[in-house]
């Protein structure tokens, strides 16, 4: 007997905080005919929402996550389910204090009220905490707790009242039909639903449902242990949810959250306890709920002791008992971000791996994305399209989350690299790089040399010009060798492995139209031209910036960064017209860069082709033979030097690599790492990077990248872009230099990115969006002898010479605006590239 509607415009699977928020926002945006399913009963179907500790700390180092959290808080407040109580992150060590100072930076950058406070301040607000255990704290008065089940119910009811939604509980999804690349229907144990859209919003079960359509949703259910101790006599008079601030005991990876007369202690300190979605017990098998598993006491031993140490009188009070203890399941991903957006199966969306603090914000953003193709809050870091093949393996998620779980409250350096599941992709010249002492960072699974230990002697040679960093934190995941390689490149040349580039070909009769309507720049150019172009969404925000080569009338090659490659690939695939095809060439083609004043001499000595300025002009490409190997050479530069990107078959890459190094040697050329390419070379030239300066919330105009003319052909985002050009920008991307690095202790400090830009005396700056400026990229500019910062400044401050300050670890350092558009600080007339 069918008990579900036979058809729906949209089926939302899951009635936790995410599914409920999503149906609410879809209904608000005018969607009707939505059917929401859950395997469990309402209002608590047994997923992670049902056992959440429900508190919300506001500040995360990620802008995207923070914005989703802040939006969620606004929504919870509007729903009347938010109780503000304030929250402390307390430090037991000096190292943690430094991390809390870094949190202050993020709080200032994202506009969150916060301050560093003393142990006495904490104890005044939390009298049962032993202040002698801590040395300081990060205080956010805006922290609070929510009733996420009530919030979900209200949102669901609003959608039902609007006539937009039918919710069917106690129904199990048994299959998804995909035909011609599109989701068509949902099978359940109570009938089949024909559907145009399906959203998987069922938390820890999402991978299981995704698999039904051949879509990998790489999250893993993981245990978070929590106990509740009470009734505590000290809290006996407390009514309602919460009156005392929540304490995150950061160094023990625990939190203490008062709940009426009870105190909840939660932990992220235990070993990673992971599960497969298929092994989660059924509702019938579960004593409490499928995501409240039996508590494993041994894993909690240490945390219990530490919590007792922090609050001995409260947790040891007469009558206070451990009345509830669970291994609660929540969702973890390989990079810590949620999994949102449309999968490669059209019409099949995901909204998974979302925590209570982001739920309503994610619901709104995904609903906007489904409705209009973009969302107010940029979701690029959470896009399901971001995953590379190696990341879709359950093994990868297992290994990475095993490594990262213990870092949930950890101190994570902005450049910190994962240790597990490395070596997934190796450039063909990897062996040579190993011999050269390559120190590799991982990008898109590729092992990419960030610098080469073989260049260590250059550090001595260049002396102080390599701008050594004396503080351990500033120099962690960094080496002065990067700056030495940079100086050598500017002096002679550098050879760099760029194999991690994602490369795809657009071919066929519709190829031109396809790239034309996807790219902002004119792509109807002569064969052999190279185009650098932004790619926009319909709202005129950045989807990407990349290069396109016209290889034939009906053949374009797109080259983009590895990290964002799969999302770009999907974007182009989604915008193909006229029967054009897209073919990924990443695994066939390696790229080697050669740049520097000696680049032409080196290349000329390895080829018969004319590589003179006239014979091989800027922004052109053609096939030539180099060292006996067939190479597609493209004259372009991201480091501000004369040179080429050389595209070569993987099999031939080692030959080309070795020839360039051998020949270059006599010219003083060295191999150089991504440290130069991605940071030092780039920022001396003021080049923007997607994901740093460029994202969907920024415009071409604000980024200072507008060209005099806009092409006549239509392209995605054109209307919005034309409107942006007619309006004064609300913020301007500027390049700043740090004038004095000396901290109060006398140690010179070097910012790493993410820090707030303030007035010289520490006052807050606010741009036309209501945002506060922060550093999008920070790095050495060795050829300028300066540390350079990029930041979007309010229009009033965006003037060359404006004196401002950057706050780093809660100290102010003077900075000066050096450029207010794309004009580079180094070689402003681009002489060197000619």
């Amino acid at each position: 007997m069918a008990e579900v509607p036979g058809s729906a415009r949209c089926v939302v699977i899951g009635a936790g905080i995410v599914g409920n928020s999503l149906v609410h926002h879809l209904a608000k945006l005018g969607w009707t005919d939505i059917v929401q399913l859950d395997q469990g009963p309402l209002p608590n179907p047994g997923g992670s929402t049902g056992h959440a500790s429900n508190f919300i700390f506001l500040t995360d180092h990620s802008r995207e996550i923070t914005d989703l959290t802040l939006d969620s808080v606004e929504q919870y407040k509007e729903l009347g389910v938010f109780t503000q109580c304030g929250g402390f992150e307390v430090a037991r060590t000096e190292e943690r204090m430094e991390e809390l100072r870094r949190r202050m930076s993020s709080a200032k950058a994202w506009g969150i009220e916060a301050e560093m406070v003393s142990p006495e301040f904490v104890q005044e607000k939390v009298p049962f905490l032993d202040k002698d255990q801590i040395i300081g704290a990060f205080w956010q008065p805006g922290v609070g707790v929510v009733d996420s089940l009530r919030a979900g119910t209200i949102m669901r009811e609003r959608a039902i009242e609007a006539g937009a939604l039918t919710t069917v509980p106690n129904v199990e999804v048994t299959g998804l039909d995909v035909e011609d690349g599109r989701v068509r229907r949902v099978h359940t144990d109570k009938g089949t639903i024909e559907a145009e859209y399906v959203v998987i919003a069922c938390g820890v079960w999402s991978p299981k449902i995704g698999d039904m359509a051949g879509v990998s949703i790489p999250l893993t259910p993981a245990v978070h242990q929590m106990i509740s101790v009470g009734p505590c006599p000290q809290l006996a008079g407390e009514t309602g949810e919460i009156t005392f601030p929540i304490v995150r005991d950061m160094d023990t990876f625990c939190y203490e959250r008062q709940h009426g007369a009870d105190m909840e202690v939660g932990s992220y300190a235990h070993r990673a306890i992971l599960m497969e979605p298929e092994d989660i017990p059924t509702i019938e098998q579960s004593k409490l709920s499928p995501t409240e598993l039996p508590f494993t006491e041994d894993d909690f031993d240490t945390q219990l002791e530490q919590a007792y140490e922090l609050m001995p009188e409260l947790l040891g009070a007469d009558g206070a008992e451990i009345r509830y203890a669970i291994n609660g399941l929540l969702s973890l991903t390989c990079d810590g971000a949620p999994i949102l957006g449309e999968s490669h199966v059209k019409g099949l969306w995901t909204a998974s791996a979302v925590w209570i603090k982001e739920g309503p914000g994610v619901g709104r953003a995904v609903a906007e994305w489904m409705t209009q193709g973009w969302s107010e809050i940029d979701l690029a870091s959470s896009d399901i399209a971001r995953f590379h093949e190696h990341q879709k393996r359950r093994e990868h998620t297992r290994l990475r989350t095993t490594e990262s779980f213990i870092k949930t409250y950890g101190i994570i350096h902005p450049n910190e690299q994962y240790e597990s599941d490395r070596d997934q992709r190796r450039a063909p010249m990897h062996e040579s790089q190993q011999k050269l002492g390559a120190f590799c960072f991982e990008t898109a699974g590729w092992e990419r040399p960030h610098w080469y230990e073989s260049n260590a002697p250059l550090v001595e040679q260049y002396g102080d010009a390599v701008m050594p960093r004396e503080h351990e934190w500033d120099s962690r995941w960094w080496s002065p060798i990067i700056n030495a390689e940079h100086l050598r490149m500017r002096e002679a040349a550098g050879v760099i492995d760029l194999t991690a580039f994602q490369i795809f070909d657009i071919e066929g009769p519709g190829a031109l139209d396809s790239v034309q309507q996807t790219c902002v720049a004119q792509c109807d150019v002569a064969v052999g031209k190279v185009i650098y172009t932004p790619v926009l969404d319909a709202h005129g925000g950045f989807r990407s910036d990349l290069t396109v080569m016209r290889l034939g009338d009906d053949h374009f090659r797109v080259v983009t960064g590895g990290a964002h490659g799969p999302a770009d690939h999907q974007w182009f695939a989604d915008h193909l017209v006229g029967g054009a095809t897209i073919t990924d060439r990443t695994d066939d083609v390696s790229t080697i860069g050669l740049w520097g004043p000696k680049a032409r001499d080196i290349l000329a000595s390895l080829t018969d082709a004319d590589v003179s300025g006239e014979g091989f002009p800027m922004l052109t490409c053609r096939e030539i033979t180099v060292a006996g190997v067939n190479v597609l050479a493209s004259r372009i530069s991201y480091v501000g030097e004369l040179g080429w990107e050389l595209y070569v078959d993987m099999a031939d890459a080692p030959t080309l690599w070795q020839a360039l190094l051998d020949t270059g040697d006599s010219h003083g050329t060295v191999p150089m790492g991504i440290g130069v390419y991605g940071t030092t070379g780039r920022i001396e030239k003021g080049y923007r990077a997607y994901g740093m300066e460029l994202d969907a919330e920024r415009t071409i105009v604000e980024a200072g990248m507008q060209r005099p003319k806009v092409k006549a052909a239509d392209f995605v985002g054109k209307e919005a872009y034309l409107a942006q050009r007619e309006t004064a920008p609300k913020a301007v991307l500027c390049t700043l230099t740090v004038e004095d690095h000396t901290s109060a202790s006398g140690v010179k400090r070097y910012m790493l990115g993410g820090e707030p830009i303030l007035t010289r005396d520490g006052g807050t700056l606010t741009d036309g969006h209501g945002h506060h400026p922060y550093v999008t990229t920070a790095g050495s500019a060795p050829s300028l002898g300066k540390h350079v910062l990029l930041a979007y400044l309010p229009v009033e401050q965006a003037k060359i010479g404006t004196e401002l300050a950057v706050s780093y670890m809660e100290e102010l350092y003077p900075v000066v605006v050096g450029s207010v558009d794309a004009t580079p600080l180094f070689d402003p007339s681009n002489e060197r590239m000619r």
Partner: protein
Amino acid sequence: MADVLVCVKRVPDITEEVVLSEDGLSVDGRRSGFTMSAHEECAVELAVQATAASGGQATVMTIGDAEAVEQLRNALAVGCTAATHVLGEPFAFGPADVASEIAAVVRDHEAEGRSHDLVLLGNDAADSGDFQVGIRLAYELGRPVVNGASTVVIEDSPEGPVVVAVGEGPEGQETYRVTLPAVVTIREGGVEPRYPSVPGRLKAKKVPIEERQPVAEPKGGGRVKMTLPPPTPSAVTILGEGPAAASAVVDVFEKLGVLAK
């Protein structure tokens, strides 16, 4: 000063759906988790109360694999003061095996100068339900036994210390006064077992646990196979929605006896 030995067993938590192991010889607890039977939780509580009153010793013991230490620690966390772990695969032990292992512990402890005046057991184990160990143990030790008591209190009498065991019998409440040493098996319902406190839990971690090997090769219980009864169909009645359902809910509560008319 009373000295009580309380015997517990690590069993699968069968509050919800019971899953049998593939061979049908045991209950599979991998998903449900493990606990001690409700009867034994009450026995532990009674042991703790009986000894705390007189400042005596409450020793908890179990026969089980290494994991069963969790149940010993749980008993220590709520007030037991010593623990003995007979290491063995629990399914290999039939009721007679278990009884003789407990008897061996009682005798050995006695030889060491710790005489357990009172041995408390659960009425039956949640997973095997054999209902035999208490009587077999009493027989082997030559002690009197009371079965199915829900409370016990140790009292002094002119004849020496006695245990007063009270339980529900077919004709109503039955009270037994038995001279110590004795054996009593406990049915749940007479006391509310306490939860551990944080200091209790921390203290429990530090108590050394006596580990010993079984004194004899277990002969087993002779169980051939267990089967599950057909699932009871669950009938859900919607009483109504919103405030209108209130009176129907009150009626149900009255019927259940949780609300007085």
